[in-house]
């Protein structure tokens, strides 16, 4: 475990140097959060139909997702991308570590550290002024906590898999864009999944992105009742295992066919 934890710790030390980036990130997400809440307000006021999720719940959902925006698996990990692009994979392989777990840990730190640095000011301000409500029960809070942890691991597994995909393309620009679009739409970041039309929601729920934003925050709201939490968490765990295995397999195949640039 130690080498892998050391990778996370090293990333942490690098990231905490970027305080300005964290502040700017928090500010941007706060601003977008306000806009999103206002749009939903307008939407709810203009309609008299009963919505599948209440306005108060939507506001909390929006603020929680804004606070954990950095957790969205919408990117390829920059260091892995650079490593692959300039042929440094060779140097990675020269270290006595399992390269998949090193890359996974990089993805994890890339998700975890900015989230930790940005979420607290947003949660605080949203809780005080902008309508973020506490969870309805201790059970909901506990289930949401567990799902959040799972979401972190799941998001890292997705990022790792997508980043490993770069072994097959040179620039990775296309993969990064596709990944962003899929993550943004199907996680519930753009629009809470309960507001999706049934057919699209069925697709979203069948995808792993569902476990990143939608599951933890609907558990938080009690929109998924705590009694359904074990099933939701099990599905999340299943996705984590499946994606880690897929990532390892893909990496193994990628490395076998790899020709490191340079003679």
């Amino acid at each position: 475990m130690k080498p892998y934890l050391a990778v996370v710790a090293a990333r942490f030390r690098v990231h905490v140097q970027y305080r300005a980036a964290a502040l700017a990130g928090a500010g941007t997400q706060l601003f977008w959060g306000l806009i999103r809440v206002m749009i939903f307000e307008a939407f709810y006021r203009s309609s008299t139909a009963v919505q599948p999720i209440s306005m108060a719940q939507v506001a909390s959902y929006v603020w929680l997702s804004q606070a954990t925006f950095a957790m969205l698996p919408d990117h390829v990990e920059a260091e892995i991308r650079d490593t692959i692009r300039d042929g440094n994979v060779a140097s990675e392989l020269l270290r006595p570590v399992d390269i998949y777990w090193v890359w996974y840990c990089r993805c994890l730190s890339f998700t975890l550290i900015p989230t930790l640095m940005r979420c607290f000011p947003i949660l605080l301000l949203a809780g005080l002024f902008f309508g973020l409500k506490p969870p309805p029960s201790a059970a909901a809070a506990a289930a949401a906590g567990a799902a959040l942890l799972g979401a972190m691991l799941l998001s890292s597994a997705i990022t790792a898999l997508v980043s490993i995909g770069l072994l097959w393309t040179i620039s990775g620009e296309g993969i990064a864009r596709l990944s962003f679009a899929a993550a943004y739409l199907f996680s519930g970041m753009m629009l809470p999944l309960p507001l999706f039309p049934d057919w699209l929601r069925a697709i979203a729920v069948a995808l792993p992105y569902h476990g990143v934003i939608d599951v933890p925050f609907r558990l938080y709201l009690g929109h998924i009742p705590p009694s359904a939490a074990p099933a939701a968490l099990a599905a999340q765990a299943g996705w984590i295992v499946a994606l880690v295995l897929a990532g390892r397999l893909l990496l193994k195949r990628g490395l076998t066919r790899l020709v490191v640039q340079g003679g």
């Binding site: 050391a6 030390r13 060779a90 140097s91 006595p96 020709v259 490191v260």
Partner: protein
């Protein structure tokens, strides 16, 4: 640190003791590559005949790459979208060599000769098509993690350190990655810091280091886990003269005083000349020469260079047995064969015929020797 980490029992397996320190077989330039391994062992005056497995054993190693062929023009590019033609390139074509503990081997050859491919196979990054390869007794690609744990690698062109982290933190991270016990790590680190004069650099982020500073840090980083085998891939590339000398001096001490086996690939033949007792020359995927520098010279040419500064710049130079190959004012460059005319006789012959201000005899530069070796080799092949 009074007790050096390099002397700890864990550093070298017992079977190497007593032989690593006996460099007589490699330092004198009298290495005999034609002898079988057992004979070579017997040649060593230490008289200890413990079985000593080579650090590296390579036999008939072959590695082929599939290169996608691009057809010319827009039509070709379009066709390439649907069907690609591949061409097999033999980067390494049946090479064999052994490297014993404590050797400092230069591995040279032109770009694309197969140097990097060999090093990548030895470090478990590439899987060869066929052939035998053992590094420290292991098959590197089957046990990559166990093999690389005992390897140190330095690439002159890229750093192993973390760009954003201060040097010392990079070192700490490497300790965790290589799982080095704390006390062993600390003594190795402090010793390397002293040897390479890194103390003023420790708090500097790697991205702010100059190339020479970075190379010294990279050297230290590759040795924190006390590897038994060190690969240096162009360690002096781009360095200024002072830094080059510092790197060479360090590598020499590492090899002679600590018995670390070193494989050095380089284009800088001064590195080879300054450091290596044995040279492997590779070209087009095959070993063209394996022996001491003197042998390499002997195989290509026995000629010596005689450089003379004449008193009279206009004098006509005439000296039987020597050929003028260049002239630059007072300075005249000649070639002669010491087998026909021994060097002392050639000097006295020259001095008796011409008024000489200064004079010296040299071996031909190694660049020329390698170039000739390649020319010979490609002439032999149809």
């Amino acid at each position: 640190m009074t007790h050096s980490v390099w002397q700890q029992a864990t550093f070298r397996p017992p079977y190497v003791l007593g032989v690593v320190w006996d460099k007589s077989h490699t330092h004198g330039g009298t290495r005999q590559p034609g002898l079988a391994r057992a004979d070579r062992l017997r040649c060593r005056p230490s008289g200890i005949l413990w079985p000593m497995p080579p650090v590296v054993r390579v036999e008939r190693l072959v590695k082929t790459f599939q290169i996608a062929e691009r057809r010319p023009g827009f039509g070709g590019a379009l066709a390439g979208l649907f069907r690609r033609r591949y061409r097999a390139v033999r980067a390494v074509d049946g090479i064999s060599f052994d490297i014993d503990p404590g050797e400092l081997v230069g591995y040279i050859g032109p770009n694309g000769a197969g140097k990097s491919t060999t090093v990548k196979v030895l470090s478990g990054i590439l899987v060869p098509d066929s052939g035998i390869c053992r590094v420290l007794g292991r098959v590197p690609w089957e046990e990559r993690i166990a093999t690389v744990a005992q390897l140190g690698v330095v690439f002159g062109q890229r750093t192993q350190l973390w760009w954003d982290l201060p040097v010392l933190e990079s070192f700490d991270l490497l300790r965790d990655i290589y799982r080095v016990p704390r006390t062993a790590y600390e003594s190795a680190r402090d010793e390397l810091i002293a040897l390479l004069e890194l103390a003023p650099l420790l708090d500097v982020p790697v991205r702010q280091l100059s190339l020479g500073q970075r190379m010294r840090c990279d050297l230290a980083a590759s040795l924190l886990h006390a590897p038994r085998l060190l690969f240096l891939d162009e360690p002096t590339i781009g360095l200024d003269a002072v830094s080059k000398l510092a790197v060479r001096d360090f590598v020499r001490r590492l090899n002679r005083e600590r018995g670390v086996t070193v494989i050095l690939t380089t284009h800088d033949l001064d590195d080879i000349e300054a450091l290596c007792n044995r040279v492997l020359v590779i070209g087009q995927g095959r070993i063209l020469c394996d022996g001491s520098l003197a042998e390499l010279r002997g195989r290509v040419t026995t000629q010596r260079c005689l450089t003379v500064d004449l008193e009279d710049a206009g004098a006509v130079v005439d000296c039987p047995g020597a050929v003028v190959v260049g002239r630059d004012g007072h300075r005249v460059h000649l070639r002669f064969d010491p087998v026909q005319v021994p060097a002392p006789e050639m000097i006295s012959r020259f001095v008796s015929r011409h008024a000489v201000r200064d004079l010296f005899v040299e071996n031909p530069p190694i660049e020329e020797i390698v170039a000739r070796l390649f020319a010979q080799e490609s002439a032999r092949k149809p």
